[in-house]
């Protein structure tokens, strides 16, 4: 090989990727996706529209007919809408990855010496900032329709952090969906499924006690319900510890399982 590095520096021996390289690779991917987010502001607006409509629907259309024990419905449903906003936003992870696969850009990534986890980690991290943004928008809208915080600042921040942690864990599920479907349209349709199941068979909109008994076990203990219960408690200022730990355990489990699945899918894609 005659192609030496520039400035007399010999080319780096192609050895193992160091931790620093992996961190740089991931930061590079995150930068790429953040630039894409910033340059498509219309997507942020449209992304906020869906949860905003859910908010209006449950606050004004259906809310009057739903009774919840010990409090106002708006304070009951708005924390759930916060989570739904973050989950809906997570679908962009699966759609975006599928689009990258289809366009051939993932082929280029996979032919480069970059760390294998960087493409997925960089994207989920960039999408986390999108979640943060849509959460901020929803908090503003929530306050506008009459939602009120009843807890101290520390507790409120903990509640918001819990939402983001849950959303981040879920973005790995969406990453797996995007890699498995390999097609943006299919990814979109497939991504709605877990969202619907978790949202409607949950305590998000109505108390679980109103459901048939065979459904109650699932509806009470599934990850979204547990997290909504924890967030409600944190924003209300009640005892939250029990739910918070359960939510964190779910998030950790979802993250670990779907990180492993996604990485495997990424490695073997098209093979």
């Amino acid at each position: 090989m005659t192609e030496a590095g520039v400035g007399g520096r010999p080319p780096r021996p192609p050895g193992r990727t160091t931790v620093r390289d992996a961190a740089r690779d991931t930061a590079g991917v995150a930068k790429r996706n953040l630039l894409r987010i910033v340059r498509t502001p219309q997507l942020i607006v449209i992304g906020a529209l869906q949860p905003a409509m859910l908010l209006v629907l449950f606050r004004y259309v259906l809310g009057g007919a739903i009774r919840v024990p010990g409090g106002s419905y708006v304070d009951y449903v708005v924390p759930a809408i916060f989570l739904e906003a973050v989950l809906i936003g997570g679908m962009t992870t699966s759609i975006g990855l599928a689009a990258d696969l289809k366009s051939g850009i993932i082929d280029r990534f996979r032919s480069l010496p970059m760390a294998r986890s960087a493409v997925l980690a960089g994207r989920t991290i960039a999408d986390l900032s999108r979640s943060l943004l849509s959460l901020a928008i929803m908090v503003g809208l929530g306050l506008l329709v009459g939602f009120r915080f009843h807890a101290g600042v520390g507790s409120i921040i903990a509640g918001m952090a819990l939402i983001l942690v849950f959303g981040y864990a879920f973005s790995w599920l969406y990453a797996a969906i995007g890699l498995a479907t390999k097609d943006p349209e299919t990814a979109q349709i497939a991504g709605i499924l877990p969202f619907f199941v978790l949202m409607f068979a949950s305590n998000a909109i109505v108390p679980v006690a109103t459901m048939p008994s065979w459904l109650q076990g699932f509806a009470r203990n599934q990850p979204l319900s547990v997290t909504i219960a924890a967030v409600r408690a944190l924003l209300e200022g009640g005892p939250a510890g029990h739910w918070v730990w359960q939510s964190l355990a779910w998030s950790a489990g979802i993250l670990i399982v779907f990180f492993a699945i996604s990485l495997r899918l990424y490695r073997n894609t098209a093979a």
């Binding site: 192609p14 894409r36 051939g104 850009i105 280029r108 960087a118 093979a271």
Partner: protein, 324 residues
């Protein structure tokens, strides 16, 4: 010179019941261009994907720059560049951002990848457009950026999958010049193409593949020799003139012409192209034989296949008639 930079031995790959590669062997030497020539679905992209570690072969072995494509895949990725069949550039980034990120992902230091991105923009005539979003680029600009990105780490071996498909003739020529420059600087290039002309212009070695198998290999000269070079073709307006026209061409070319009565077509080998064409044209005029068409036809990819798959009348019907 002479060291093997790409060695492929009996590589196979199937997708379900489709045999994409049915045992391919080839060798590319350092500093040379190897063209993989074949029609759509021949298996070109599949082989490129195997050689760039994107796909594992089902069986067989392949080494690139001394690295096994399966066992040493991680090390190999430092040494190669790939510009795939579809330009893999990011529409929502600028040209410069695209290049710098690829440099970063090759683990170049920041100062280094910034300089090289600047170099690539200059060299590929993209300096003015460098800070514009790629979605404003034309197809040719994207293709140049894509090839530029594959060069940012100055790879020892470069893979270009149909680098000029869909480009206008001028941009195609630009891309050809870039490739020639690279090769004169010592890079080994494997490119795939459906165009005989492209293979002829760029490649030191041509490997013709069809439905996953190598059906011919050699230099452009060797392949053309097998084809018998260019032919002169005359199409008469009136079928009654066919015999007279054949006799005339036999005299002009001093060979026995081939006659295709269905298409009212007579052809003879035309090694000395234009001179023969002028002579034949003059004679047809003297004899008052009306022609629909008269021309010299260079061997096309279709002809390669006609020749290689049994030739002549036994041509598969899906091949289009050669363009005049």
């Amino acid at each position: 010179m002479g060291a093997a930079m790409i060695e492929v031995e009996a590589v196979t790959k199937r997708f379900g019941s489709t045999i994409a590669l049915g045992g391919v062997d080839l060798v590319a030497e350092e500093g040379r261009v190897l063209a993989l020539l074949g029609p759509n679905g021949a298996g070109k992209t599949t082989l490129v994907r195997i050689l760039t570690t994107l796909l594992r072969p089902d069986s067989g072995r392949a080494r690139v720059a001394g690295c096994d494509v399966v066992a040493d895949a991680a090390a190999l990725r430092h040494l190669i560049g790939l510009a795939g069949q579809y330009a893999a550039v990011d529409e929502l980034l600028t040209g410069r951002e695209n290049l710098e990120l690829v440099g970063l992902w090759y683990h170049l230091e920041k100062r280094e990848y910034r300089r090289r991105a600047q170099d690539v923009l200059e060299r590929f005539g993209l300096l003015d457009a460098g800070d514009r979003l790629v979605k404003t680029y034309s197809g040719g600009m994207r293709r140049r950026l894509d090839i530029g990105a594959s060069l940012i780490a100055r790879p020892a071996v470069l893979f270009l999958d149909e680098p000029t498909t869909g480009l206008d003739p001028r941009t195609r020529n630009d891309v050809w010049s870039f490739i020639e420059e690279l090769v004169s600087a010592g890079t080994t290039v494997l490119l795939t193409t459906q165009l005989m002309e492209e293979a002829e212009r760029l490649a030191h070695q041509i490997v013709v593949i069809d439905t996953g198998s190598v059906i011919a290999r050699g230099t452009a000269e060797q392949l053309k020799a097998r084809l018998g070079g260019a032919t002169l073709e005359a199409r008469v307006s009136d079928p009654a003139d066919l015999e007279r026209a054949a006799t005339l061409l036999a005299q002009v070319g001093d060979v026995r012409p081939r006659i295709d009565p269905d298409r009212q077509l007579i052809s003879i080998p035309a090694a000395e192209g234009t001179a023969l064409l002028v002579a034949a044209g003059r004679r047809f005029e003297e004899e008052h034989i009306a022609l629909d068409d008269l021309g010299v036809r260079r061997p096309s990819l279709d002809d390669v296949f006609l020749a290689l798959t049994g030739g002549g009348s036994g041509a598969p019907p899906e091949f289009p008639e050669g363009a005049e």
